[in-house]
């Protein structure tokens, strides 16, 4: 067994079914229309929110309302619709800023997703400020989106990629990380929460250690922003990136937060409409951030949807959501580990509600296909984290990622489906 994998133990105390406590999960489930559907004749159990979360009625209605009654282009019309929708669109920037406690909405760049946000930083900040021999520190548990852009920069500019290791629980090895900050390191780009292991890294400490040496830090918050309160000022992050579709919002919209002084020094990412101040054939001048980085018609309807998603999450309260998910994670972990032959990956303290595992002797695809037959949607494979799979010593895992709308009864359904997988394949 690989060192990080935890062997299945004997059944432990089985959590009761009232763990939801004051958090009214059934009420919340009613807000998500898709959760009432069936798959293969069974109620849908959606444990794939880490890939993309389902959307509450508030998001669907907000987007529909724009399309039915308010739609036009933004930033460029003298007419009523354009002015009112521009106000709403720019208002979302303020909502996003509030959601992560950014000092100003002008530090919120709207992108297509996290991947584009990281590529934007690599292509602008990276190209301008990083050169041959400069080091960029990432971790073993990065998503490919936070590896490949830096590798492309390595191939183009000759920078060096330095990888901070994890320990056997899946926690970041802070001492090894700190050691990598010496010498040529000029940027840290690290996940705030592993999409495979659920590990929450000590982000504030990571930033502090880097800042002690004058090194800026980009945090990939794709998973963290869904499971915890994020305060970019408290973290003192230089860049913070995340995507809308994992945060109960629509796809095709993401966010790059940057410190004002950094954004101001960065050249444009793409050229086109909206990002310019003036264009002649002789000379073009650019807008100030954030619009400098938003060429072309932006994701207008998606922005309205993301704003609605953030309002929805804020109204429930991130602390209440996190508490519910923590209880659910505890229950699911206990039930999972009570099953024979389960190898769980990622047991770092304070982890988010993500369970990566394999059933020993059964291929993860066979496990996941059996779960699907029972209506349980999970992800299987390498989870866009192939280097981490190498560290774990496996070709892939099954990943159940839990969200605010999941229940203990759904965990029980997954456990029964795992028993069926053992019958079919064991």
């Amino acid at each position: 067994m690989n060192a990080i994998g935890q062997p299945a133990g004997q059944p432990t105390r089985r959590a009761g079914h009232n763990i939801e406590g004051g958090f009214d999960v059934e009420r919340i489930r009613q807000d998500f229309p898709i959760l009432s559907r069936q798959v293969h004749g069974k109620p849908l159990v959606y444990f794939d929110s880490g890939a993309s979360a389902q959307k509450p009625r508030a998001v669907i209605d907000a987007m529909t309302e724009v399309l039915e009654n308010e739609y036009t282009n933004v930033h460029r019309g003298a007419h009523y619709l354009s002015q009112t929708l521009t106000d709403r669109y720019e208002g979302v920037r303020e909502t996003i800023a509030r959601f992560i406690n950014a000092p100003s909405e002008n530090q919120i760049v709207i992108t297509r997703n996290t991947t584009e946000a990281i590529n934007l930083v690599a292509a602008t900040y990276g190209r301008k400020f990083l050169g041959r021999g400069d080091g960029v520190v990432v971790s073993t548990m990065e998503h490919h989106a936070n590896i490949v852009p830096w590798q492309m920069l390595r191939d183009e500019k000759g920078i060096e990629l330095k990888v901070a290791p994890i320990d056997d629980t899946g926690a970041l090895d802070l001492d090894a990380y700190a050691a990598l900050l010496d010498g040529n390191t000029k940027l840290v780009a690290i996940t705030h929460c592993s999409n495979v292991l659920g590990t929450m890294v000590p982000a504030a400490e990571i930033v502090r250690l880097a800042h002690d040496r004058g090194i800026p830090v980009l945090l990939d918050g794709s998973q963290a922003v869904v499971h915890s309160t994020v305060d970019v000022q408290a973290l003192d992050a230089d860049f913070y990136v995340f995507t809308g579709h994992k945060l109960y919002g629509p796809n095709a919209i993401g966010v790059l937060y940057g410190k004002a002084e950094l954004l101001a020094q960065m050249p444009p990412y793409q050229g086109g409409g909206d990002m310019i101040a003036s264009v002649t054939f002789e000379k073009t001048t650019y807008q100030e951030p954030p619009h400098r980085f938003e060429a072309g018609t932006p994701p207008i309807v998606e922005a309205i949807g993301l704003g609605a998603a953030m309002d929805y999450v804020s109204a429930i309260g991130m602390e209440a959501i996190a508490a519910h998910e923590k209880s659910l994670l505890t229950y699911a972990t206990e039930r999972l580990m009570a099953q024979p032959g389960i190898q769980l990956f990622g047991t770092a303290p304070g982890k988010a509600a993500i369970l990566s595992f394999i059933q020993q002797g059964i291929h993860p695809f066979d496990t996941a296909a059996t779960l699907d037959r029972e209506g349980v949607a999970v992800r299987v494979g390498q989870h866009c984290a192939e280097p981490l799979m190498g560290r774990l010593g496996v070709d892939g895992t099954v990943r159940a990622s839990l969200a605010m709308y999941n229940t203990t009864a759904e965990v029980d359904t997954m456990i029964r489906a795992l028993e069926r997988a053992r019958t079919l394949f064991g």
Partner: protein, 146 residues
């Protein structure tokens, strides 16, 4: 060109077997085929990168040989269900020339009525078909060049 009916006898057998089954039974049928295929020797030395179809959910290896202009395929996977799928594909479409194989289409694969497994990225049956067509064509061109 059309493919002679007798050349698709194994395919037709799968189609007939699957069409009388409900969705749940089809799932178990594929598993049975995968388990049976598991007992058939697949050369271990061929489970290498040269014979690997790249996919992130499971691994699929396909070996191709030619007998009198006809392509013979054998498949393997590390997942039982995928082993069942690749076994159905190699069993259904072995014995065809590359020209005949090129005429096998998405409709044939859909005819097996396996729903989501038909088009699933990377380990899907259409991806397997395209890979088999490519192997057949490559071998034919290599032979012609000799």
């Amino acid at each position: 060109m059309t493919i002679a009916a007798e050349k698709l006898a194994q395919y037709d057998e799968y189609v007939e077997a699957l069409e009388i089954l409900d969705e749940e039974s089809r799932f178990e049928y594929i598993i049975d085929i995968g388990k049976r295929a598991d007992k058939t020797a697949f050369p271990a030395e061929c489970m290498d990168d040269a014979h690997l179809m790249h996919g992130c959910m499971s691994k699929v290896w396909i070996i191709h040989s030619r007998e009198n202009d006809r392509s013979i395929f054998r498949g393997q996977s590390d997942a039982i269900i995928v082993k069942g799928l690749v076994s159905m594909m190699t069993g259904s479409f072995s014995g065809l020339t590359s020209g005949e194989l090129a005429e096998v289409t998405l409709d044939h694969v859909r005819g097996l009525n396996l729903g989501a497994l038909t088009m699933q990225r990377q380990v899907g049956m259409m991806a397997m078909l395209k890979h088999m067509q490519k192997l057949s064509l490559q071998a034919e061109r290599a032979e012609a060049a000799d």
